[in-house]
């Protein structure tokens, strides 16, 4: 860089300590006002009246803020919780929420606007320059620091006394072990629960929420029922959780028997009524977006689509496996029952699942 006006900005990789970008150094040396680049006097700098006006404006913002804080406190006690008001664009809303929120919001906002107005109009706006130092300290300082460390390390003898060093490293390596071991009781060991559901032979199929047994003649073609095993509430009570509900949920639909292209087992339907797991085989969302004309079932989470007329095969989206089918029949009283449990695990894949 002999000629200071030659701004060949090609960086020289061989020179590690090359001075920072030359062009920018040069840029500063181009004719510029000595200080206060690009600085204009504001009206508030030249006109005392303008300054006074700005002062009053700032004070007005702060004053408005105090006012809104008071409005908040008063309306907190004055407005009953259940009062509703109609507001345009919002509709009927909670009077308390909207009054508390807007008063509090404006109280805060005006502090901010006031402070910035103050800074912009009345505080000095001359830009200042401050020098930077390179982050890397001087070589001597680095050496001194390293020396200090080396002296300390030597005095400790950690380098020479291998026995101490190794035993200490061993102790430190083992010390977190109790914490790791204690994590073991975060959950029980899996015992194949993911493969099981409550469904079994002769268990009645009941409607979800209302828990009524179902007769096949009550299901017209195109009908959809979200259903559960009859003992679902007892299981929930007993287990104290909703795990079984997340596994045993099924869908019952009826189609014309001639529309059924295939099933997962011979005659697993009952007069065109088929039962499939409601839990998606992708990542387990409940699916019930059933289109009665196409017999397609769509998952609202990731749009896997299954064809219930064709063994519940996936036909679109990320799900790779068919929905498990539940074989059904009727009991002697004519109510729908499961013929057996699910023949494969329901829901999303897991490593030990197998084929």
């Amino acid at each position: 860089m002999t000629n200071k006006f030659d701004i060949n900005n090609t960086f020289d990789p061989d020179n590690e300590n090359q001075a920072p970008k030359v062009s920018k150094e040069v840029a500063t040396k181009l004719p510029t006002p000595a200080k206060g680049v690009d600085h204009y006097l504001r009206r508030t700098d030249t006109d005392p009246k303008a300054a006074k006006r700005a002062e009053r404006q700032v004070a007005a913002f702060f004053g408005a803020s105090s006012l809104f804080t008071l409005i908040f406190v008063v309306s907190f006690f004055a407005i009953p919780r259940e009062t509703k008001i109609a507001v345009s664009l919002i509709g009927v809303t909670s009077a308390q929420n909207i009054v508390l929120g807007t008063s509090f919001g404006l109280a805060i906002l005006f502090i901010g606007i006031g402070a910035i107005h103050w800074a912009k109009k009345l505080m000095p706006d001359v830009e200042m320059v401050q020098e930077r130092k390179e982050m890397k300290p001087a070589d001597e300082v680095q050496q001194e620091a390293l020396d200090a460390f080396r002296v300390g390390a030597t005095e400790s003898g950690v380098g020479q006394r291998k026995l101490i060093r190794r035993s200490l490293l061993g102790a430190l390596a083992l010390f977190p072990l109790p914490f790791v071991v204690m994590l073991r009781d975060l959950g029980p060991a899996p015992k194949g629960e993911l493969r099981k559901t409550a469904w079994q032979e002769d268990l009645h199929i009941v409607t979800d929420i209302t828990y009524e047994k179902i007769r096949p003649e009550d299901i017209p073609v195109g009908n959809l029922i979200s259903a559960m095993p009859e003992n679902i509430l007892e299981i929930q009570e007993e287990e104290g959780n909703l795990n079984e509900r997340g596994k045993s949920a099924i869908l019952l639909v009826r189609m014309r028997p001639e529309d059924i292209k295939s099933q997962q087992g011979p005659d697993w339907d009952y007069q065109g009524i088929v039962a499939y797991s409601k839990i998606c085989t992708h990542v387990g969302c409940p699916i019930a977006l059933y289109e009665q004309r196409t017999h397609h079932l769509l998952c609202p989470c990731h749009q896997s689509t299954f064809d219930l007329a064709d063994s519940g095969q996936p036909i679109f989206g990320p799900a790779a496996r068919r929905l498990p089918q539940l074989a059904i029949t009727v009991d002697e009283e004519g109510y729908l029952v499961a013929r057996q449990g699910f023949q494969e695990p329901i829901g999303p894949s897991f490593w030990e699942r197998g084929a």
């Binding site: 181009l30 807007t102 402070a115 103050w118 949920a249 609202p300 989470c301 829901g347």
Partner: protein, 559 residues
């Protein structure tokens, strides 16, 4: 300022504390510390302030929220849910919303602030990336930022799940499905997180302790480190008059920066609060309590998980059975774990990769204009387009119903677009950058176009150019090029194999790609003659009676 009389007496209270703490030296150093002023430097501040708002409102929410999955029958004041069994967590969130005065407001501020927190981190990250602010000495701060973004996403998701409403429950079910799909350890991991099968009775209280203790603690620690580094390294600045690599130009901490940054905190808080007052967010009372057999159309996560939702949706159905014994699910693992893992790893590695390719190990305190680093800018927009496409893919059902499109068509479009669009964006961006560079070069070498057409005595027409203003000149000059590494020889003249040949070859090829299309840097002489020429042309224009430009600009060049 100069004529203000300063009281030299040491206040007794100050002396009392200083005698015990001894902070005068630090205060002296820092009170007038200079911070450059630019709107794009405040994006990170939005994230910081949102975090403070989250801590404040979150603390209030813990006073009423009950992290329990015990079933209760709701008997609060929201009529449409009266008498319904639900978890205590959901019931207490309803209580906060409908029975605690101002509780709805707090909940909504908290949720809006969470969305702001992550959105501001993302735009801050984009600013840092496109201006090259992550270069030496700021690589660690880049890594800290990425760690903060990751923690922010986890904090967001864990908090989103706490109300135990139908929508977040479905989100948690999806998370459980992803965990379950992990090779070898999936089932165990599921059982460890949920204390057994999904949903169990443990997960809400576990997420609660993660959400209110672990994650905010970690974020607070990393934010502190992030700010300390900014403080000691001093903020970067854009090229401009008087600004160099070795100085920082701006306003002192006291008073201007304090007033502006402090004021901005209140503005962010105020805007968040007004949103909380006027716009519903996460209406859990409409979603209903979670039960694992219910679902709603339009099941979506909050925006920051949207890209994962999109990647899960567009992923084709690929699953393998290994020896009919094990199930391996790329259709879940690739979009939900491998893709985000790769995205964050690439982001983290980027500053180091770039400096390896360019060989640039210098400190940089002046920011790059995006156009002056065309390859970087193009990589940035390319990645951004990929992210945005995933994001759109995550909302394909809402888009389908809003614009009367088919979700199947959108999904197929996304599958193609995710592969086809980013490279096109890369090419287009680099061209645009180079075009802008050419424009800058033109200004340097021929002056600025004025739009005034001059008819010459001979009958021809020329456009009058005026010299570039002093304020603009440093910006135009702040461009540099990097050398292309020579292709290494496999064996040198003495027949000795070149060490690390493959790595050198790759580096050479990458640097050729990096600098492809770079324009030459003009010499000062060329610039001076160009500006001089523009000056002369302008004077000529004056002679012909063409309306003059701004007086101060005309007189300030080439003495």
């Amino acid at each position: 300022m100069s004529n203000t009389t300063v009281n030299k007496k040491t206040p007794a209270a100050y002396n009392y504390v200083d005698s015990r703490v001894g902070f005068s030296a630090a205060l002296k150093r820092n009170m007038r510390k200079v911070f450059p002023d630019h709107w794009s430097f405040m994006l990170g501040e939005i994230a910081l302030y949102s975090f403070l708002i989250l801590l404040l409102t979150g603390t209030f929410l813990t006073l009423w929220y009950k992290p329990s999955m015990t079933e209760v029958i709701y008997n609060g004041s929201y009529i449409p849910l009266k008498g319904i069994p639900m978890s205590e967590a959901y019931a207490s969130t309803l209580e906060i919303s409908f029975d605690v005065r101002g509780g709805m407001l707090l909940r909504q501020i908290h949720h809006w602030a969470a969305l702001f927190f992550i959105a501001a981190m993302v735009v801050h990250l984009l600013r840092v990336f496109f201006t090259g602010a992550y270069r030496k000495p700021r690589e660690f701060n880049w890594l800290l930022g990425i760690a903060l973004l990751t923690l922010g996403l986890l904090a967001g998701f864990s908090g989103y799940s706490l109300p135990d409403d139908l929508l977040s429950g479905v989100g948690l079910k999806i998370a459980s499905g992803i965990i379950q799909a992990l090779p070898v350890v999936g089932t165990w991991a599921l059982y460890f997180l949920f204390g057994g099968e999904f949903p169990g009775t443990e997960v809400i209280s576990r997420l609660y302790s993660i959400h209110i203790l672990l994650l905010p603690g970690a974020i607070l620690a990393l934010v502190t480190a992030h700010l300390l580094l900014v403080w000691t390294q001093k903020h970067t600045q854009y090229p401009g008059p008087g600004r160099t690599e070795k100085n920082v130009v701006g306003y002192p901490l006291l008073p201007v920066y304090t007033a502006k940054a402090g004021g901005f905190f209140f503005i962010v808080f105020g805007v968040t609060t007004l949103l909380g007052a006027l716009v519903t967010i996460n209406p859990i009372w409409l979603y209903g309590p979670y039960t694992p057999d219910q679902v709603t159309a339009g099941s979506q996560p909050d925006w920051y998980i949207g890209f994962l939702e999109g990647s899960l949706r567009v992923m084709p159905a690929i699953e393998f059975n290994i020896f009919n014994t094990w199930t391996f699910s790329p259709n879940v693992l690739i979009p939900a774990l491998i893709l985000p893992g790769l995205m964050f790893a690439l982001m983290g590695a980027y500053p180091f990769l770039e400096s390896w390719i360019t060989g640039d190990k210098r400190e940089h305190n002046l920011l790059d204009r995006p156009r002056n680093a065309p390859t970087r800018t193009a990589l940035g927009t390319m990645s951004l387009s990929f992210y945005i496409l995933l994001w759109i893919g995550g909302g394909n059902d809402i888009i389908a119903t809003t614009f009367n499109l088919s979700i199947n068509a959108i999904t197929w479009f996304m599958r193609v677009a995710l592969i086809a669009v980013p490279p096109l964006v890369f090419i287009a961006t680099r061209r645009i950058c180079l075009g802008l560079q050419r424009n800058d070069l033109d200004k340097l070498l021929h002056g600025k176009e004025t739009g005034r057409i001059l008819r010459l005595p001979e009958g021809g027409f020329v456009e009058v150019h005026e010299p570039v203003s002093e304020a603009e000149l440093p910006k135009l000059l702040a461009r540099e090029t990097y050398p292309v590494w020579e292709l290494p020889q496999k064996v040198d003249a003495n027949g000795i194999k070149t060490p690390k040949y493959r790595r050198q070859l790759m580096k050479a090829k990458l640097s050729a790609w990096w600098t492809k299309g770079d324009l030459p840097i003009p010499t000062m002489k060329e610039i001076q003659s160009g500006q001089h020429h523009a000056h002369e042309a302008l004077e000529q224009a004056h002679e012909f009676g063409v309306e003059p430009g701004k007086e101060e600009i005309v007189t300030s060049t080439n003495h």
